[in-house]
Symmetry: C2
Subunit: 393 residues, 2 copies
């Protein structure tokens, strides 16, 4: 089919200019530091599993980096979310407010607690929860009974809210905290994608009661598989550590477990990788921010796209570079995805909106117009650290 | 206090004779093979996480070793149990028969499904479920309604049974299969501790509908943290893979998930370790069996203890060497634990019986006399592979 402008080809050209190479995957990890040394140390010491110094060190250094009082390392971001929800008291048949525009793990973690996701709309700027629309929704659809926020339609308690910092861009967390305060909701911050991203200099994940981070292989830094809970609440941190390590009471040899616990502890070998990666994080973020500048320059002349950039007063890690197509070419999204991937430039759309997935179809939700609009028009671009490193360009 | 015979000192002396050294931990892993090479390959290729060849290879080689049609690698044995229970249809408010004398993970996994553990007694020989006592218990306490086994007292369906091969010694699986057939129970075999143990030449974990294995740091081989589901049922294997990888449907770029899934996939870096360990498994088991012979000889003259040995027609991996104190000195167990550990020889008791733990106190159970007797008298001895290697002795 003949088009006046071949949008796919123009986008391909701009990506190539930005990344300075002809092909690229979406995101690959970078192992330029002490990964090797620390892994070898694990093998030599035989401490690869649930005992070893790297888990403690990783937790301490992660807490230091994020300026949280405590960090608890776990097997992945999903388990971190599961534990965070359970620890703040999310119970069977509660509702939990989560974006429809997020990864499925959030909705799954809510279900692990027996609770019900209640889907919230997004903001065109941050891609995260829109606090203004949410406040209006809660005002008209909820009541206070016994000091709890009750969904008038379902009769269920709305217990918590899980704002997510999409692709590393901070959500409007201060306004969300205000809504949460007014409607008596616990805030669990999903900072899975936003390690290194801050709001007014404060690290994402440290605004809510608990925050969670992911170290999956596609994240800014990786532990193979891994996650963490961060918090300033010492009691909750202790509970997180206890529950994620089979709820065993300390004893020289006795096996007494005082709750239904979980085997969610990050193995030492994965934490060793994390320690090495964390040392390089500031450099990684510099490179990713530099890559954004390159993309911005390369896409400046294409009027039918915009790049997602950090919100005012925020510092983003630019985990995944994100392109939003103009409404006028939204229907070309799949053609652009096909053309870029066929050209060896890996792109992907945003996740399918969760309220449309089979296991969550019947769940409560507010008007989701913005999320629906974004879903149709959003693409992630090649975002690996090495693409943004000066010496590569 | 003066004693005619100082049992603790005699046991300490025998342990030293058996292991040929003065101090030892309970069990440490052995990295003598390609661990280093495979880990370095992960780093060099950047495939450390959810993509990479080692997971597929580990699953294939594990299936080959156990002679199971399929293996699905997961983050740990607990998650393997959780998924196995869910996959065979264990539902909220079902009962699941499990030993009281086992690690807490089994009872926890049952609870993750919303089901209720129903505790079963053990056998003095195998330390695992006693099928004769179990049959008597089920005969008198259950009814068949709609072809399902119903606990007459609670009215709940007894859906499944989870026999465990304690410390690597095979349970009487054939008799348990017969009981399961007669009472319409699904068998999930807990082979967490019994990799390399066989019954009539057939690998433990392949008798039930599904089997699970653990690769925690204290097991015969380790992946840091890890587990696997093994099965000959292709449909169940597919379902296990699907559920443990967020239930995502295959697509070039779309994120469609058709069930509440889990993030339980073993990371590639942990699987790489597993591949190297699996290559050495036959040697490890030879060493562990040799260590048993050494213990047997060293303890031959102490009439007040016996070592647990492999049941007839079984081949045990002798994961943890196990000493049973005579009833006459049962009350000295804690003194012996204290004395051995203070001497630098790490020993531990068996787990606290699960029916006594706070979260499971109200659960149904049969008469547990044997488990109660064993709990008081059982000690694990230093069992590391290197203690049994010829060149160390």
């Amino acid at each position: 089919m003949l088009k006046e402008v071949d949008h796919s080809q123009e986008i391909i050209n701009s990506i190539k200019v930005a990344i300075g190479t002809d092909t690229a995957v979406l995101h690959e990890p970078r192992f330029n530091g002490n990964e090797w040394t620390y892994l070898k140390d694990c093998l030599d010491s035989t401490f690869v599993s649930s005992v070893g110094q790297y888990v403690d060190r990783f937790e301490k250094e992660l807490a230091g980096y994020t300026n949280a009082a405590h960090a608890v390392a776990v097997v992945n971001g999903t388990s971190a979310l599961h534990m965070a929800l359970q620890i703040v008291g999310v119970k069977s048949n509660d509702e939990v407010l989560i974006p429809s525009l997020t990864f499925v793990a959030t909705a799954n973690a809510v279900r692990y607690c027996g609770a019900i996701p209640h889907f919230v709309d997004s903001d065109f700027g941050t891609l995260g929860i829109d606090p203004v629309a949410l406040r209006d929704h809660l005002k008209t659809t909820t009541d206070f009974i016994n000091n709890q926020c009750i969904n008038k339609q379902t009769g269920r308690v709305i217990r918590a809210i899980v704002p997510m910092h999409t692709f590393g861009h901070p959500v409007n967390i201060n306004e969300i905290l205000a809504v949460a305060r007014d409607f008596h909701l616990v805030v669990i911050e999903d900072a899975a994608e936003s390690l290194g991203s801050t709001v007014s200099g404060k690290h994402t994940g440290t605004f809510g009661e608990l925050g969670i981070i992911s170290f999956n292989g596609n994240k800014t830094i990786t532990t193979g598989g891994g996650g963490a809970i961060i918090t300033n609440n010492t009691e909750l941190a202790k509970l997180a550590k206890h529950l994620t390590t089979t709820a065993k009471l300390p004893h020289r040899w006795e096996y007494t477990h005082d709750e239904v616990g979980y085997n969610y502890r990050m193995p030492n070998i994965n934490a060793a990788l994390g320690c090495a990666q964390l040392e390089q994080l500031p450099d990684f973020i510099d490179a990713k921010r530099h890559l954004f500048v390159k993309y911005q320059s390369a896409f400046a002349d294409l009027p039918y796209v915009r790049l997602v950039s950090e919100p005012v007063d925020c510092h983003s890690n630019y985990w995944l570079q994100t392109l939003i197509l103009d409404e006028t070419i939204a229907e070309e999204r799949n053609d652009i995805l096909a053309a870029t991937n066929e050209a060896g430039l890996m792109t992907r759309p945003i996740w399918n909106l969760l309220h449309n997935l089979k296991p969550f179809k019947g769940c409560p939700r507010m008007d989701l117009s913005v999320a629906i609009s974004l879903e149709k028009r959003l693409l992630n671009l090649p975002s690996s650290v090495h693409l943004g490193e000066e010496n590569k360009l």
